[in-house]
């Protein structure tokens, strides 16, 4: 069943015709509960695609349909995590994670009555990503990796059926990144939301996703698609096995081709 349907979407920045064309007739479908990774050369409009799907920006041409309805404004069924952790510095980790509950219905009106339950949920989520004991720390007291984990928790606290991850691990070192891949896989297996992960790390795309989409250089559109046939849960060693290595290699060639046609 298709959950996200991006149908021939173009997006041009600026009002006039000479504005930057970031997306050109991008088309993709993501099934319910599917984990899809989008890879592409830098500046190809991956982040723009995220903003269009979540309704932060309206497409110039075309339509985005999520869960059977056309997207006209920001989606409250979506959780988002960005490249920067973007935690609010005046809130503790716990209060940051609970932020979506103060805005998204039906949690917003239940929050006061079922405070203890929500609090326990937030604490459990933090414990799941290894942040037990840091609930009352402020963001600046956490390392970059810890902040990014908290940001993931915030994206998940309101049980979104669509999780949009915009290069969430890009600014982390490789060891922290791999650790968080495992954490994300656990979170996904436990809840099975639909995930769209934008990344420029091909190993990450192959390790985490069910399907990898390759975008062309700007203006971006989907030029290739590969299904990842690996059993779950996957372990980090799988990224070094011949199947994954070959897949990464193949994706790499698609991207080099996309870059050379642009240049």
């Amino acid at each position: 069943m298709t959950f996200v349907d991006v149908d021939c979407v173009s997006l041009r920045y600026g009002e006039d015709a000479d504005g930057t064309l970031a997306l050109h007739k991008a088309t993709l479908q993501v099934g319910n509960g599917e984990f899809v990774a989008v890879v592409g050369p830098s500046g190809c409009g991956k982040s723009t695609l995220m903003k269009v799907v979540t309704g932060l920006w309206p497409p110039t041409v075309g339509a985005v349909i999520v869960s059977g309805r056309e997207v006209t404004g920001p989606l409250s069924i979506a959780g988002m995590a960005f490249q920067n952790p973007t935690l609010l510095p005046w809130r503790t980790t716990l209060a940051n994670v609970m932020l979506p509950l103060e805005i998204v219905q039906p949690h917003c009106s239940r929050l006061r009555r079922e405070w203890a339950a929500y609090l326990a949920k937030a604490r459990d989520l933090l414990a799941l990503v290894g942040l037990k004991g840091f609930e009352d720390h402020f963001p600046w007291q956490l390392s970059g990796g810890m902040q990014q984990r908290a940001s993931l928790c915030r994206a998940l606290i309101h049980d979104p059926s669509l999780l949009m991850l915009d290069e969430p691990f890009a600014s982390l070192d490789m060891f922290t990144r791999e650790e968080l891949w495992l954490a994300l896989q656990d979170l996904w297996l436990a809840r099975k939301p639909t995930v769209i992960l934008v990344t420029h790390d091909l190993r990450e795309a192959v390790f985490l996703s069910d399907r990898v989409l390759v975008m062309s250089a700007r203006p971006g559109r989907i030029i290739a698609e590969r299904v990842v046939n690996l059993p779950r849960p996957r372990d980090l060693d799988s990224t070094y096995e011949s199947y994954s290595v070959a897949l990464v290699h193949e994706l790499r060639e698609h991207i080099s081709a996309a870059r050379s046609t642009a240049a």
Binding site: T54, L56, G73, P74, L75, S76, A78, M80, F82, N84, T86, L88, P89, W90, L99, P100, E102, I103, V104, F134, H137, F138, W140, Q141, L142, S143, M146, R154, H158, M164
Partner: protein, 279 residues
Amino acid sequence: MVTTDILDETPPRRRKPYLLRRKSLRHILPWVVIIGIFVVWEVVVRVFDIEQFVLPAPSAIFASGWQWREPILINAWQTLLTTVIGFLFAVIVGLLAGIAIGSSTLVYDSFYPALIGFNSIPKVAVVPILVIWFGVGTIPAIITAFLIAFFPILVNVAVGIATVEPELQDVLRALGASRWQVIRKVGLPRAMPYFFASLKVAIAAAFVGTIVAETVAANKGIGNLMLVASSRFEVPLAFAALLVTSVMGIGMYLICAAVERRMTGWAMRGADTVPAGQG
């Protein structure tokens, strides 16, 4: 063995007393400076034998202040009350107007030039007009204090809200937050450090406003007392009144600073807070 002993023990031993010494120094130094100024002043007046009606010595100022303590206190109380009322109005209006101007580019573009123009008017020039409207007394002084104090508050709150990082706004907008929710959850907390910093400027400005208005048109207050004192060549009394004003100013400043520290500690992670859980 010897070298490891040194490595193990020397740094904490040397560092801690140093930091402690610095910390207590930071508390003592302001008093040293204030007392130093008075001592130098006293010495200069005595050595050069300066006439009292030109520059009275601190000793003469304190003596005069003690002699006239009752009228000084009564008038100081009047000035303090006037200032605080004007200041409170400035806080309310500055905060509300700052939110309105900071959260909408349209309101910002339309009102900002007019506000700049208004702020360029020397407020002392407005006092006679206020007297025509409200008569001589406390009300023109309150309004003058308000007029001077509200602008820095407004500008700071507006800037704090207008410069919220788009990424932080996106976090909330992606959740479907309304415009007002974005302002309340991100804009306002983000503007609070600016707001509290502006209070320290605004309270000093409010004192200036009150005393200017009292000097021009009032029959009570420190400004009026100084006017009367200087017209009678009671220069030490005028200086004593100035001194009392400074003390009130420092007091109000300290209150504002304490409130600031309490409300926006997250924005002031200074040298004495050690980050935990790094790594």
